[in-house]
Symmetry: C2
Subunit: 118 residues, 2 copies
């Protein structure tokens, strides 16, 4: 036995888990983050491209959510000084890895449908 009791270790550990889950929830939060990430999984996109691809989103929300995702380390924003200006949004490594989460979400969702819609 070390200097930290087993109970303490469990608390520490589950605390980490809660933080981790919260981080993941931040990526899922709101109506538009998933559509944005989904769209970026197929490759980098410009602002207007995203706006056109994601039906119903307003530039205000797109801008806000992209900022959120950038702050959370899910996308990067790159400005090229072309004319007119080009701004490119792209998933980070972590953002790409998020596909794993989406995959189990799909998997669970499909199984759940199968098991409840009998």
């Amino acid at each position: 036995m070390g200097r930290i009791s087993q109970l303490e270790q469990i608390k520490l550990c589950s605390g980490q888990f809660v933080l981790a889950i919260n981080d993941t929830m931040n990526v899922l939060h709101g109506k538009w983050k998933l559509p944005i990430i989904g769209s970026l999984l197929y490759g980098k996109k410009r602002f207007k491209e995203l706006e056109r691809e994601i039906a119903g989103i307003t530039p205000r929300m797109l801008s806000k959510e992209l900022k959120d995702l950038e702050i959370n380390g899910i996308v990067t924003r790159t400005v090229y000084d072309s004319i007119p200006v080009t701004v490119e949004y792209k998933l980070t490594r972590s953002g790409e890895c998020f596909k794993k989460v989406l995959d189990v979400m799909v998997e669970w969702g499909l199984q759940h449908r199968k098991s409840t819609m009998v």
Copy 2:
């Protein structure tokens, strides 16, 4: 080649994926569903037990979210006519399987923390 074009099949398939993801999002929606599910993963609980265990929740929200989870096939509600009445909430099979989703959420969250907090 069958009577459905490949493009149609892809659309059909990705449509299913969207539904599946939405189903999963329904389980994650709101401030309290995850704490409730988390608590029920350790076994069935009564209303007041959940209320005591989940710090800060009001009976109004607990009642509402439990109904939601029941409708979505995540928990079952069983009433025993003891005195006073006993109401037991328990995860369904699908609800238990949801742990898989939580597990990857934790996994991604931990990795994300590692890779961003360098």
